[in-house]
């Protein structure tokens, strides 16, 4: 983990996988905070815990996500808001399909793509690189958006093998696009499985598209990584209390406890509730009632 994280450099454009409160590469982000990375330019679609955590951890210089919140469960993202409102991060808010089309341009190896939306929105003020023009074929107004090629994508997968083949279970959100569009792909995986097992199940992503793989059980916690665990509402609730109070409270009560003071994945699991917590978050599959309970506790 330390070695993989150390290949991510200050100022890199980083695509963070998953979305909202699902399958976000939290173990990698915790390691980047521990290593004191700075000024990362974060890109992606609709996110939540990951981006808020990264802003609170001081590793972010610009945010080019399309949405950052805890939706109606916990509402606005306190660290992200604070970072935007104090000018600690540059606001480069983008829109989902624009990001998707920009990633596709990169995936296709072409320099830009034309779009018919965005026009009429002030989002264009945040992106002087977008070029309004007239379609030479139809004479209609369009907007050209440049290819988006992240320096690195960090992705949390359910399974990987030692060659870098990945099994990711849907929804992928933008992960497959990130992998194809980024220069390097660093993967944390809930489980490392044998090559035979991976081939039997059929990889979602073949090995030549990934750069490095790290085994990281519970690596998306407190976001969900089904079928292993649902999201940890109790933990997120504790997180929100310190994050809402301010940057110092967040550092003293959250980062010191769950990031700086933690030496191993085992220690992290212990701190967030150990096997009792892990089993509880895995209990979603027992019944509808058990699953519903996981969205109300905490």
């Amino acid at each position: 983990m330390e070695e993989a994280a150390s290949t991510i450099r200050d100022g890199d454009v980083v695509a963070i996988g998953g979305g909202l409160c699902m399958r976000e590469p939290m173990a990698m982000l915790r390691e980047l905070v521990r290593q004191g990375r700075r000024n990362l330019h974060i890109v992606g679609t609709a996110h939540g815990f990951d981006v808020d955590f990264a802003c609170g951890g001081g590793i972010v210089g610009a945010v080019e996500e399309t949405h950052v919140s805890f939706e109606q469960d916990f509402g606005l993202a306190p660290n992200y808001r604070r970072a935007c409102e104090t000018g600690q991060v540059r606001i480069k808010e983008n829109c989902c399909n624009t990001v998707i089309m920009q990633l596709r341009a990169s995936e296709f190896g072409i320099p830009f793509v034309p779009m018919r939306s965005i026009k009429g929105s002030d989002e264009i003020k945040l992106h002087p690189e977008f070029k309004p023009m007239v379609d030479p074929f139809t004479g209609k107004k369009i907007v050209l958006v440049p290819a988006l090629t992240p320096d690195v994508a960090i992705i949390h997968a359910q399974k990987a093998d030692i060659h870098g083949n990945l099994k990711i279970l849907p929804p992928y959100v933008a992960d497959v696009l990130f992998i194809r569009a980024s220069k390097r792909v660093i993967v944390t995986a809930e489980e490392i499985v044998s090559e035979e097992k991976m081939i039997e199940e059929g990889p979602t992503i073949p090995y030549y598209e990934t750069t490095a793989v790290v085994n990281a059980p519970f690596g998306a916690h407190p976001t969900s990584c089904y079928p292993y665990y649902a999201y940890d509402r109790e933990h997120i609730s504790e997180y929100m209390k310190s994050a809402k109070e301010g940057a110092d409270a967040f550092k003293n009560r959250y980062l010191d406890k769950y990031v700086y003071g933690v030496k191993s994945p085992e220690e992290y699991l212990e701190k967030v509730g150990g096997n009792v917590k892990r089993e509880r978050l895995a209990s979603w599959k027992e019944s509808r009632e058990r699953w519903m309970e996981l969205f109300t506790y905490g």
Binding site: Q72, C95, C96, S121
Partner: protein, 280 residues
């Protein structure tokens, strides 16, 4: 019959949003959208059985979620589905002009239906950062039509100042309505036709065909035209036949309660709104 049955504003709003969905259409909801989440599935189970139901960013086609979670990106939302697609395929559909409806909201909404989901202030001096529009900036341009909803129409008084959600002018236009700061939709060559309904906790609006501005069509049994005017910074057009909306039946309300046992439909309201009760 005869026995009175009590419903809440949360159930009426779901019902009203669902009524903007027609059968045999393609429909998608975005993030942070608990009311459209419940309304879409309700429509699929009742009057729009042949709609193509995309259950949010999880991108399942025609899911049967066992309940609604307070997030739109969870395995709950892919249960009982017909198929999985990836979210980019839903945006492709919209770009081709084949996504019939979506749902958007905003911290500020103007009379043309433009919405601010981004910020108060400017990008360099941001006073309040909202979450951001997710796919709204694209889809509000591309969708054939869309429904705007808000649970915060009622203006908030703080001291001698009044704060509106339905404002004269948005500080920042994230999602595009009929007339944008950069021109009218037809001048911009946008794919879709813009918002056609605005459902709030005080009333239901459509848009006047000539001025392309919001027009009050229906009230709740406990709201008046004056209540709406008092909470709206601009002056909306009042439809000559404005009246109280048609109420759902007990059976319809029971479906809403059954599909949403966690009550995520209530999460967006200031507390006093949830105290409103209606007899049907």
């Amino acid at each position: 019959m005869g026995e009175k049955f009590e419903v809440g504003i949360d159930e009426l709003l779901v019902f009203n949003v669902a009524r903007t969905i027609r059968d045999r259409t393609t429909v998608f909801h975005g993030v942070s959208s608990p009311i459209p989440m419940v309304a879409m599935y309700y429509a699929k189970l009742t009057h729009a059985k042949d709609m193509v139901y995309f259950g949010g960013v999880s991108s399942a086609v025609d899911p049967n979620p066992p309940f609604f979670p307070p997030t739109t990106n969870d395995w709950v939302m892919i249960q009982g589905r017909t198929a999985m697609v990836t979210v980019d395929k839903i945006f492709d559909l919209a770009q081709r002009g084949e996504l019939d409806r979506s749902f958007f909201s905003g911290a500020q909404i103007d009379k043309y239906g433009n919405q601010n989901v981004s910020m108060i202030g400017t990008p360099d001096r941001c006073k309040v950062k909202f979450p951001g529009g997710a796919g709204g900036c694209n889809l509000s341009g591309d969708c054939v039509n869309y429904t705007i909803w808000t649970t915060r129409h009622r203006a908030q008084k703080k001291g001698d100042r009044k704060f509106f959600t339905l404002v004269n002018k948005c500080d920042f236009v994230t999602n595009v309505g009929h007339v944008t700061p950069y021109g009218r939709r037809e001048e911009l060559d946008l794919v879709g036709n813009g918002p056609d309904w605005v459902v709030t906790e005080l009333g239901v609006f459509d848009f006047d065909e000539v001025t392309k501005t919001m027009r009050l069509r229906y009230l709740y049994p406990d709201t008046t035209v004056d209540d709406v005017l008092d909470s709206t910074e601009f002056e909306p057009i009042i439809h000559p036949n404005v009246g109280v909306m048609e109420m759902p039946t007990r059976e319809e309300i029971e479906i809403i309660r059954r599909i949403d046992p966690l009550g995520v439909r209530k999460l967006e309201y200031p507390e006093q709104e949830l105290a409103r009760r209606f007899q049907i």
